[in-house]
């Protein structure tokens, strides 16, 4: 067992820094939603990118994964892979729905 991983004490300043970053990014998300970036897809992509970055901060610092063991990191990765699997396979349906014509159209 990695004793360093078990006993790591995170300074309060790190928590405050992460907290204020999250608040700032929430503000950025709200602000950018009022701007037209050229296409709605781009707006969604930017909003999702910010959300993913915020989620990563929570997982790494608030959930201590950054200081966790390799096993913890591996389990987090499996969770992410599972989420991607759900998204990718469900999207596989949406991407190919129009490939086959609808009778009568």
């Amino acid at each position: 067992m990695d004793s360093h991983a078990e006993h790591h004490v995170v300074p309060k300043s790190v928590y405050f820094a992460v907290f204020f970053t999250l608040i700032a990014l929430t503000w950025v998300t709200a602000w950018i939603s009022t701007k037209d970036l050229g296409s709605s897809s781009l707006n969604v992509a930017v909003a999702l990118s910010i959300a993913v970055f915020k989620a990563s901060l929570v997982v790494m610092f608030f959930m201590h994964v950054k200081y966790g063991t390799k096993l913890t990191k591996m389990i987090v990765c499996i969770g992410i892979v599972w989420l991607l699997m759900l998204l990718f396979i469900a999207m596989m349906d949406i991407w190919t729905r129009t490939w086959m014509g609808v009778p009568g159209r």
Partner: protein, 545 residues
Amino acid sequence: MITATPPPKETKNYLNAEHGLKSWLLTQDHKRIALLYLIAVSAFFVVGGIMAVLIRLELATPAGDLMDSNTYNKVFTMHGVIMIFFFLIPSIPAILGNFLLPLMIGAKDLAFPRINLISWYVYMLGGCFGVFVLLSGGVDTGWTFYTPFSTTYSNGYVVMTAMAAFINGFSSILTGLNFIVTVHRMRAPGLTWFRLPLFVWAHYATSVIMILGTPVIAVTLFLLMLERGLHIGFFDPAYGGDPVLFQHLFWFYSHPAVYIMILPSMGVISEVISTFSSKKPFGYTFIAFSSVAIAVFGFLVWGHHLFVSSQSAYAGMVFSILSYIVAIPSAIKVFNWAATMYKGSVRLEAPMLYALGFIGLFTVGGLTGLFLSAMGLDVHLTDTYFVVAHFHYVMVGGAIMGYQAGIHFWWPKMFGRMYPRAWATVAAALTFVGFNLTFFPQFILGYMGMPRRYHVYPPEFQVFNVLSSAGASVLGLGYLIPAIYLLWSIKNGEIAGPNPWGATGLEWQTASPPPTENFEVTPVVTTEAYDYTALKLTQEVAHVG
């Protein structure tokens, strides 16, 4: 003939360590929490069973003479919701898993005893929501909550029922988390991964599904509540949603949920077959890894529930192929159980009879699943009684037979008393016959085109429906008799002794019922799992001594 045995001088065990209601409601002992689950889950089984009785009574005649269509919709919905979320999913993991996992790995308790107790309270809270829905008028969406009916048209308590399942999901997640950490961190010295009992492997795989899948159903039901309550568009195209997205998200969890029900049963069957054949399971490693393979592949097949929706035919082809692949690890288990019995010293005790019943019924359930994985055939069979028969063969014929096998196998360990074996044999036979009489005619009905979820049907279908209702009475008796003799045995059964079946495994090396701390001394494991030679030698030495 079994005669009542006077109670011996009681040794300290988990049942008599503390007394009073408070000692049970605040217990952190995994064995006591398992019994709390046993009581609660059994109560829900009775309620779900009453709903089944109402369904079969209504379907005994072609006309809707017992209830109107709205009531019938609510009855089959509550039957499904209660049986799946409050009985089948928690039954084996929360009762037998909770009780046995620490014992099997030589630990004193689960890794997080408080979380274990919290999981029971969370389950009860979800149950309260379910009971509230039941008493206040019910819900009519079917257990699948399909949109747009659930979000737009249903007048029932959809949000309340979704909330019940949502809360209950957290109980599953906590149990799964506890099992995974316990298996990783609390194994006895010498108990390597490949010395673990197959029951533990099965529960480990189940826990992975619980943790990775349950959050998705929780989110899905939450989205449903948001769309129904606040008209935020996720599933309704009028609000910008996707009409099939709900089904994708729902089945991403709910298909693997079938494996949450069946994998623990498979773990039980591996233990029972090995014990009553006095033989190490054939292909131990294959059985262990097939559990993990089922857990992984089970997540890739959900689209076969969507073949007749607007899902892309190309996606359908991929899901069809993947659904065939998931049959392989299941088949590995069935062949290995059969090979384990080959040339074994087979004893037809009650748990073994249930296990043999499991193999037959699960095989029928699994093979008819392949029919439904074939896209062309599925168009004909979707939403017919063929599907109803198929999933009951898997969930009742598979999961409940496994649960009964497990309860009969470990009952002497749980309570230190034996039940009347002759009655248990009768009950196992009645269950098998009653089950087949109930559900086999439904395959024929479905093939003939009788749709599910209707309370009236053409007269030509009546003969098969009457057979099915008659079978349900026999099946009900098959469930009632064990309830009576098991309760009777708690006070009056023969004293069982620590290892009444001659089984290997650490749980059989401690007293029956076990002490609160499970083992007086932490066991050290020096042999492979299922080492009957070592067990026989120990017994011979004890006999000579």
